[in-house]
């Protein structure tokens, strides 16, 4: 799709991809609109993923700086959202490594074999709403690998394909990791509230 370079970046219906084309064409105001659109989402993603991190604003600021530096590598025929989430994912993982709080496995066992993938959550919308509520209480206890996928699916509401592109894993891995994360979260919440 071709976007005109003289659009008003403040138009409410302007797409992210059209804004990126404007930024690629030296329109810095358009980059301001991109920041407005994603600042809240990335802060929320980062706060949940990194939890008790005091420098999350600096990390997210770094994400926007990287986005600006690499904006010319973005292909505007694709969706912008997974692309910026990918940059954020890398920044958050680096932050985790820097703080040595979470040992990140070199071998991703979930990505070793082929798994069947479900484009739609097999547990359905009701389960999704329930999980969104549960996420608030048990997320911190989960390993980063499951925590992140739960945030991306239940909080950021990215599709399986978008998550696969953000994490650079096969679609089947998203499916299996999400299922394991969901089970781990439910187990954790049961541990916290044994009466329920």
């Amino acid at each position: 799709m071709m976007y005109p370079l003289v659009m008003d970046p403040h138009q409410p219906d302007i797409t992210d991809e059209a804004l990126v084309v404007l930024v690629q064409g030296n329109n810095e105001e358009a980059f301001g609109v991109i920041i407005e659109r994603y600042q809240g989402r990335l802060l929320r993603y980062g706060r949940r993923f990194l939890s008790d991190n005091d420098h999350i604003e600096d990390v997210v600021q770094g994400v926007f700086i990287k986005t600006y530096q690499n904006i010319r590598s973005f292909d505007a025929t694709r969706r912008f959202s997974p692309w910026i989430y990918r940059i954020a994912h890398n920044a958050f993982v680096n932050e985790l490594r820097r703080k040595h709080r979470e040992p990140l496995s070199f071998i991703d066992f979930d990505a070793l074999a082929a798994h069947p993938s479900y484009e739609h959550d097999p547990a359905g919308e009701e389960d999704k709403k329930m999980m969104q509520a549960l996420v608030e209480s048990g997320l911190d206890a989960l390993p980063a690998i499951y925590k992140e996928i739960i945030i991306l699916f239940y909080i950021e509401e990215l599709s399986y394909q978008e998550i696969a592109d953000v994490l650079r894993v096969p679609l089947g891995t998203v499916s299996v990791r999400l299922r394991r994360g969901r089970e781990a979260l439910k187990k954790e919440i049961k541990k916290q509230n044994p009466i329920q």
């Binding site: 690629q24 980059f31 997210v60 600006y68 530096q69 904006i71 010319r72 074999a113 798994h115």
Partner: protein, 232 residues
């Protein structure tokens, strides 16, 4: 969003001050080209190593050990070029990691990606083995004209005295055995002459002076008591 820190102002200020710049498109094109080149180089090297393994097993005669009974099979596994194979496996992992930069790479499960790389390398190596490529390099190595990989190629025709494996040309025939010699003119460790005692049931009349032979056996009082003999 009023309570959120003013990231927007900070970033836009950095942009207007010129502290951060958009990288030119050519930077990204060069990055992709560099990764593709590395990928191609790693794949070419892995195909070369794999085709060398196939060529070396075939050319050295080690494949015959598999037909020499249990002791032959055990010796085959001892003599197999494991170091080259290990290098190839390492290269497969490098290729898999490099390919993750691209969609076609990360969308495949790691196991399937590695299996695909192995299949592709094996097919390419088999095709290369059909060409005179390694044979030409072996000839150059035999004439001491292959400086870098010369030792790899020279080892192909070497006898392995410790394992009782010898190859050479029959120089004389005696009752129940024969004598072989190997001399490729370089006066190194693979040169020598050995007396071979043929195994029970082996018809020495099938062997003629001048024949190339591959012999596996146990050394008893200086003679090779063969458990397997193969004419080359």
């Amino acid at each position: 969003m009023a309570n959120e820190p003013d990231i927007k102002t900070k970033v836009l200020e950095k942009i207007s001050r010129g502290d951060i710049h958009r990288r030119p498109k050519v930077y990204f094109v060069a990055q992709v080209a560099a990764i593709l080149m590395l990928l191609a180089a790693a794949f070419a090297l892995s195909v070369f190593v794999m085709s060398f393994v196939i060529f070396s097993v075939r050319e050295s005669g080690e494949q015959f050990l598999l037909g020499f009974g249990r002791q032959g099979v055990a010796t085959f596994f001892i003599l197999f070029p494991w170091a080259a194979l290990a290098l190839d496996v390492l290269l497969f992992f490098v290729i898999e990691q490099l390919s993750r930069y691209f969609k076609f790479g990360y969308r495949l499960p790691v196991g399937r990606a590695l299996a695909s790389i192995l299949a592709l390398a094996l097919i390419s190596a088999t095709v290369i083995d059909l060409t005179p490529f390694h044979g030409a390099l072996l000839s150059r190595a035999d004439q001491n004209e292959l400086p870098i990989l010369g030792e790899w190629y020279e080892a192909i025709h070497a006898s392995h005295k410790d394992q009782g494996v010898f190859r050479g040309v029959v120089t004389s025939i005696q009752k129940g055995g024969f004598t072989i010699a190997h001399d490729d003119g370089d006066y190194d460790a693979d040169d020598g002459a050995w007396t071979v005692v043929a195994p029970a049931g082996f018809d020495v009349r099938t062997i003629n002076v001048g024949d190339g032979v591959y012999v596996a056996g146990n050394i008893v009082q200086g003679a090779v008591h063969a458990y397997g003999i193969q004419k080359l």
